[in-house]
């Protein structure tokens, strides 16, 4: 019976995790001003939106801050929008966040040695395919190969 209770509690926890709401932590404060409000200038808002789509929500399982209802994601959207409105460049804001949370916060892989294999992968795959296929095709179309 205790095992059942434990598993039920586990299942419940999973549900709550899946909803990305901290189980007991629900603050009552309204969201930050720019969490759910767009910038007036559509060009700036587009810039902010493009950046927010590539920043990872730290409280969620695996979501960008632009896709999350977690309060902290809202606060981060507020940060991004106010900084964009103040004239900062998106990449500067990304760097600012990476300085604080490490590369984890950015869905866009950073240019660091540890990421180089990831960027080399497509080239590597194409070269491998070319090597494996070399000499496999029939050269002379007149030769029927039988």
């Amino acid at each position: 019976m205790t095992r059942f209770v434990k598993q039920f509690a586990g299942a419940l926890l999973l549900v709550l995790l899946a909803l990305a709401h901290p189980a007991t932590a629900q603050d009552l404060l309204p969201p930050a001003p720019y969490a759910y409000k767009q910038l007036e200038d559509p060009a700036l808002e587009a810039k902010a939106q493009a950046l927010m789509e590539t920043l990872r929500c730290l409280k969620c399982q695996s979501q960008a801050i632009s896709d999350s209802d977690a309060p902290m994601a809202g606060d981060m959207r507020h940060q991004v929008r106010t900084r964009i409105a103040a004239g900062e460049e998106p990449e500067a804001i990304r760097t600012w966040l990476v300085e604080r949370y490490g590369d984890y916060v950015s869905y866009a892989p950073q240019n660091k040695p540890i990421m180089w294999p990831l960027f080399a992968a497509p080239l590597f795959i194409l070269v491998m395919a070319a090597l494996l296929l070399r000499g496999r095709f029939r050269r002379d179309p007149k030769d029927t190969g039988k």
């Binding site: 019976m1 059942f4 549900v15 759910y36 789509e53 399982q61 990831l118 992968a121 395919a129 190969g145």
Partner: protein
């Protein structure tokens, strides 16, 4: 009583699987001829028994038998019928039972209908199928018994995860499952062919309908899953490159490659070792996907049934079956003689190109998904997301989609470029015009959507070219299938590119009576009121939307609260027009009594899922064509045999 019956039948089926493996192995050895007749009936009986076991579990869920642990943990007597039914497979144990059910029933069907394959290859195939299912029976019976009873009945069940209480999601996992498990049949065929060194057109023809069937289910499953994520997660996204999503995409990519290479093997007796390899890889990807989802080794927004212990069990099965199959491949592949050769510029050549590009995409998705885990070994925490997956997969996908307009026009073995230039000029021209139009009229959009629109438009037209010059009434159904599926890919690409290029978003705090503009649509918040559903309550917003000057339609976005088990979910409301979709979400109430509303106008986004369904429809047409063809041939063969027999009687 029903639970005990289900369990007993399941044990019997497991015993039959062991017997089937044993009989198969003996039959393949010299002097084992006595066992040959045993393998097929065993496979059929196994399929029937597991089906009975699965029906027993369905019955327990429909009756809400609260003395059964699984029912008590996952169901609730007040739940609507459809979710009681879906509860059967909406949990780990039930879904594993579904897995073996599909596996054993497919094995049974293979045993019943397959007549083209050499008998020893078929026996090796069925023994392989039994070998794979034994692992899953062990998993079920030893660590995930779905029929376990509670010492005492509980007064009420715990219910089903609210996110799962959705018609779309009730049928999305089993659809994907049928696809995953269907690939196990392709795997068994590959093993069988390797064991008896019988890799040839007959093997490809026997395997093809199973790959096609599995692929249809995977296509529908992924399309439905994407649509479900789109309208449930509440932010208008439809693909996040999340590990769980990638886990469903990888088998699809492998199955697509396998489908094409199998057709080369079936019609031209080429790409032998490669097709066998893909048969192994496709099912590996199903198991890798299941492992990634169940083990919780990677963080995902769709994590439901996570349990590291079960993850280890699946990993062990993965090591035995996939490691074993790849080792067998290593030992046997060098003895598989190279098939017919062909020149680079031929139908085969274009299909090899397609296979390389599909496998390249697959490798990128797999690498990107696992990369965060790899870097953690070096103590670095990183994220890999859309900014990597989108452009890098495009490196492979865009050339492939260009090739899709060309390849089907080519002749087998060798062709001359001059023969098709005039035809290919049509999609090429459309792609070029599309590129020009987008660059001129919408210069601000990003490069990938531009390419997507141009290439998608070219493919949507180019996909029909194979029908040119054919007698449309005599064209085989499978050709129509290919045309429709390729057309669907073009349509889906257009929808995806248009969504990413032209969507407009409007976030607004609205009081009742306020209006807002989102793209060409005017929305007005009319009322917010509480409503009650069968097992939830919700705040329900009444919103009217009018496109330009047309008559307004009413939408009801909701914020739902579930009680058993507790949980919350936003229920977005959609209004679909021919040229796009309005997406409305009700958020929280602010201090000033205004409501956080979110709206998106997404031009042509429904094309995305329509395209997915067209791809599946193409698969269905193709499958019908192949099956009809096989049936006709079998009948013809029967007739010939009958005439021969008659002739001999006369003599």
């Amino acid at each position: 009583m029903i639970a005990e019956l289900g369990l007993a039948v399941l044990w019997m089926a497991a015993a039959l699987a062991v017997l089937q493996l044993f009989a198969g192995v003996v039959a393949l050895r010299p002097g084992g001829a006595a066992m040959i007749g045993l393998v097929r009936p065993l496979a059929i009986m196994q399929g029937v028994l597991v089906a009975i076991s699965f029906m027993a579990l369905i019955d327990l869920f429909l009756e809400t038998d609260l003395t059964v642990k699984l029912v008590a943990e996952n169901s609730h007597s007040m739940k609507p019928f459809i979710f009681k039914l879906a509860g059967t497979w909406g949990n780990h144990e039930g879904s594993m039972l579904l897995w073996v059910t599909i596996m054993a029933m497919s094995g049974g069907i293979v045993a019943l209908v397959e007549k083209r394959l050499r008998e020893d290859t078929l026996i090796a195939t069925l023994a392989g199928q039994a070998f794979v299912s034994i692992g899953f029976y062990a998993f079920l019976l030893l660590s995930s018994n779905p029929f376990e009873r509670l010492p005492k009945a509980v007064p009420e069940g715990a219910g089903l995860n609210p996110l799962l209480q959705d018609v779309g999601l009730a049928f999305h996992p089993p659809t994907l499952y049928v696809g995953y498990v269907g690939l196990s049949v392709a795997f068994s065929f590959a093993i069988g062919a390797l064991v008896t060194r019988d890799v040839g057109p007959a093997f490809a023809r026997a395997m093809r309908p199973w790959v096609l069937g599995a692929w249809i289910f995977l296509t529908i499953g992924i399309t439905a899953g994407s649509y479900w994520a789109y309208y449930t997660l509440g932010w208008g996204g439809w693909w996040f490159w999340d590990p769980v999503e990638n886990a469903s995409l990888m088998p699809w990519l492998a199955a697509t490659a396998l489908l094409h290479s199998a057709s080369v093997l079936a019609s031209r007796n080429a790409l032998r070792a490669w097709t066998v390899m893909l048969g192994v890889i496709a099912f590996s990807m199903s198991m890798v996907g299941t492992f990634l989802v169940r083990s919780g080794i990677l963080t995902s927004v769709h994590a439901f049934a996570v349990d590291p212990e079960r993850g280890s069990f699946i990993l062990a099965l993965l090591a035995i079956y996939i490691g074993g199959a790849l080792a067998l491949f290593g030992f046997r592949a060098s003895t598989v003689t190279e098939g017919e050769r062909f020149s680079l510029f031929s139908r085969e050549g274009s299909l090899v190109f397609n296979n390389v590009m599909l496998c390249g995409t697959l490798a990128i998705v797999l690498l990107g998904t696992l990369y965060p885990l790899m870097t953690e070994a070096f103590d670095a925490k990183v994220s890999v997301g859309p900014p990597y997956f989108n452009p890098v997969s495009a490196i492979f996908v865009i050339p492939m989609m260009l090739m899709m307009s060309v390849g089907p026009l080519l002749r087998w073995r060798r062709d001359k470029p001059g023969r098709i230039t005039a035809l290919v000029a049509i999609p090429a021209l459309i792609t070029a015009l599309g590129l020009l139009a987008v660059v001129v009229f919408a210069p601000s959009i990003r490069i990938l959507p531009i390419l997507g629109i141009a290439v998608g438009a070219g493919l949507a037209v180019g996909s029909w070219l194979p029908l040119k010059g054919r007698n449309l009434r005599r064209t085989p159904l499978s050709v129509y299938g290919m045309v429709v599926a390729h057309f669907g890919i073009g349509v889906a690409l257009l929808g995806a590119a248009s969504e990413s290029a032209f969507s407009t978003e409007r976030l607004a705090a609205m009081a009742v009576g306020d209006t807002q503009q989102v793209g060409p649509i005017t929305v007005k918040l009319l009322a917010i009121a509480p409503v009650a559903g069968p097992n939830w309550t919700a705040l329900d917003a009444t919103v009217t939307a009018s496109y330009k000057d047309s008559a307004p339609v009413t939408l009801h976005p909701q914020a739902r609260t579930f009680s058993s088990p507790p949980g919350e979910r936003t229920e977005s409301a959609l209004h679909t027009r021919w040229n796009g979709q309005l997406y409305a979400v009700l958020g929280n109430e602010g201090d000033d009594g205004r409501w956080q509303m979110r709206f998106w106008w997404k031009p042509f986004v429904p094309l995305l899922w329509l395209g997915g369904l067209l791809v599946a429809l193409g698969g269905i047409l193709s499958l019908l064509g192949r099956v009809a063809h096989d049936v006709r041939r079998l009948r013809a063969e029967d007739k010939i045999a009958y005439r021969k027999a008659r002739l001999e009687q006369v003599k």
